[in-house]
């Protein structure tokens, strides 16, 4: 006998519950979530924009202080998306409250959508706050605002999915920081946040093309100033490719129950 139970085909209540939980956590840690990255960005402006930038001159017709804005937003976006998403799923694993998620009538897609959605939302908000902050220091123009917004959301989502994977993979807090600190941050610094890769010697320029971050920053900068290190099509394809790769990994994680279920 099947008792008449109303079961949702798509558990949007659960998505909303997780989303709200994560956003509450964000509000609770507003200081470290929002203010810290803003302060860091302001410091970059003071050091690279004002102090050093004045001696660098223009790059591709763009004032150096303005040139680094897209890269700085991306730098924060990477870090915050990774941190938010990895913490979001790691903490329930760490405290044990994951039992409730695993025993709830939610699909893998709904879980990922909720956690990644929340992390990406925070990151996009942060990106916009940094953009507003930067606007106080330098004159910023956005030639392709729709592309800019699209890139912002796409990158926030991509790195949130990546962060979600890290959060599931990590067995301890050190591992949580391992990939962001040791891989993403160096790649970002070498990925053209502070310079155009055209400024590099030939060998280094070629090497840089193997750095996926280059394509993301280049695409984002193109949406601001209409110029990039690589064409916008390649940038978009690379970013989407990375997103698909991350989604495939997440799919594999839930299929095998990797580090989630016994």
């Amino acid at each position: 006998m099947s008792a008449p139970v109303q079961t949702l085909k798509f558990n949007y209540h659960a998505i909303f519950a997780i989303f709200r939980f994560e956003m509450t956590r964000f509000a609770r840690t507003l200081w470290q979530s929002l203010v810290t990255p803003v302060i860091t960005t302001v410091l970059y402006f003071v050091v690279f924009g004002a102090a050093i930038g004045a001696r660098v001159g223009d790059i591709g017709g763009v004032q150096y202080g303005a040139f680094i804005v897209p890269g700085l937003i991306m730098l924060s976006l990477f870090t915050e998306s990774l941190n938010n998403a990895s913490f979001g799923i790691y903490m329930p694993k760490f405290t044990g409250t994951i039992y409730e998620i695993l025993s709830a009538p939610v699909s893998a897609f709904e879980i990922v959508f909720a956690y990644v959605g929340a992390a990406a939302t925070k990151s996009v908000l942060l990106g916009l706050v940094i953009l507003a902050t930067a606007n106080l220091f330098v004159d910023i123009q956005i030639e392709h605002p729709v592309w800019m917004a699209g890139f912002l959301v796409l990158v926030a989502m991509t790195f949130s999915v990546f962060g979600f994977i890290i959060g599931i993979w990590a067995k301890g807090f050190e591992e949580l920081q391992f990939i962001p600190m040791l891989i993403i941050t160096p790649l970002t610094f070498l990925g053209g946040v502070f310079y155009s890769i055209d400024m590099l010697p030939d060998g280094w320029r070629t090497a840089s093309l193997f750095n996926p971050i280059v394509y993301i920053i280049s695409g984002f900068r193109w949406s601001f100033y209409g110029t990039g290190d690589v064409s916008i099509g390649i940038s978009l394809a690379a970013t989407l490719g990375f997103l698909l790769l991350c989604i495939a990994l997440v799919w594999l994680i839930f299929r095998t129950g990797y580090r989630l279920k016994s």
């Binding site: 006998m1 949702l8 558990n11 939980f21 956590r25 409250t97």
Partner: protein, 356 residues
């Protein structure tokens, strides 16, 4: 599939079970066999106690039914919904209270029950959640951070979360582990109220007195096998022993031949005469014994009777090498319960210390 002890299967007259477990097995990647060929049907509205020593497979069984572990064999149905194929419908009807106090420290009870209700796919219902919190004496604490609550309150928060989506079945994994006596009594009362409200309760425990106090039916699990399922009353009747002790006026050197038809032993240097018998048999044996004693001129100043508790039954189950009397399928039981269990009980189970 091995024959199940009587009582595990339901007669055609009984209503369909709320949970049907058939041939359930769980072997971990490490090769550890945590569950083996478990068949169990949980009746609607009962309190079912799953009893077993630490590491017997109680939590694994719950984890498998609730979705935290994937079974490697067998099926589980909740109200006819398969837990894997039809997981949404199956899980929507189950509430789970874990053994450990897994809580979100910085949340409030109110926020966390609202979260749980949404997670299980139900629209908000403030009136219902208020009732749940009130019933669990948490309403006044609803705005406090969970981390500031006592252990007993945290446990109740977990129960409130498990009830937030109005489940038909509630799993309580070791609800009173590490809880003081008063809180245990509270918890028992709480669970009874839940059952009275129509919720089927499945609890695991390694405290036998808890099962004895609470359960309608009892399943004994050991080394991943469900070795016995009985109603509590039936279990007590089948396995329980009664003991009559007569404190004699004058000590006896030996038991007189006229008393041979009773299984008697002399204790305390012949001052006490002890008669042990199965609770289910020999209803008339005591009057006959007393009459014979009168005929033989053996006087006594006092007598005491006692019935073995479920705890003693359990210990005898795991201890005795021979068939416990009155058990229909005792062969499999004897096979399943071996000495390592006994040692783990002696070393780890608090309840053994309370044996008279």
């Amino acid at each position: 599939m091995p024959a199940l002890p009587s009582g595990a299967k339901l007669s055609p007259m009984t209503p369909p079970p709320v949970i049907s477990i058939a041939g359930l097995g769980k072997t971990y990647a490490s090769g550890l066999v945590a569950l083996q060929d478990v068949d169990l049907e949980i009746r609607r509205g009962e309190i079912f106690a799953l009893l077993g020593p630490n590491g017997a497979g109680k939590t694994t069984l719950i984890s498998t039914v609730c979705g935290m572990a994937t079974p490697t064999a067998g099926t589980v149905q909740v109200n006819g919904h398969d837990i894997r194929r039809d997981y949404r419908a199956a899980r929507a009807q189950i509430g789970l209270v874990p053994q450990e106090l897994y809580t979100d420290m910085f949340e409030t009870p109110w926020d966390t029950v609202r979260f749980s209700r949404g997670l299980f796919g139900l629209p908000p219902n403030a009136a219902y959640l208020e009732q749940v919190l009130r019933d669990l004496s948490l309403w006044n604490k609803r705005k406090d951070m969970i981390m500031t609550l006592s252990g007993g309150m945290k446990r109740r928060v977990l129960i409130a979360k498990a009830l937030a989506h109005e489940p038909q079945v509630l799993f309580l994994d070791e609800p009173t582990a590490g809880v003081d006596v008063e809180l245990r009594r509270d918890m028992w009362a709480q669970v009874r109220r839940l059952r009275d409200s129509g919720v089927t309760v499945i609890l695991t425990t390694h405290y036998i007195d808890e099962a004895e106090e609470m359960a309608d039916r009892i399943g004994v699990i050991n080394k991943g096998r469900l070795i016995l399922v009985e109603t509590k009353a039936e279990l007590m009747k089948k396995l329980g022993k009664k003991q009559l002790t007569l404190h004699l006026l004058e000590p006896l050197a030996m038991i007189p031949a006229g008393l041979n038809e009773w299984a008697l032993t002399l204790r305390s240097d012949g001052c006490d005469l002890e008669y042990t018998f199965d609770a289910s048999h020999e209803q008339t044996a005591i009057p006959a014994l007393l009459q014979r004693l009168g005929e033989l001129g053996i006087g006594f100043k006092d007598l005491t009777t006692r019935q073995s508790s479920l705890e003693e039954i359990f210990v005898s189950l795991v201890r005795e090498p021979g068939d416990p009397p009155g058990l229909s399928s005792s062969g499999s039981i004897r096979h399943a319960i071996q000495s390592p269990v006994q040692s783990s009980i002696q070393s780890g189970d608090r309840s053994v210390d309370k044996r008279p």
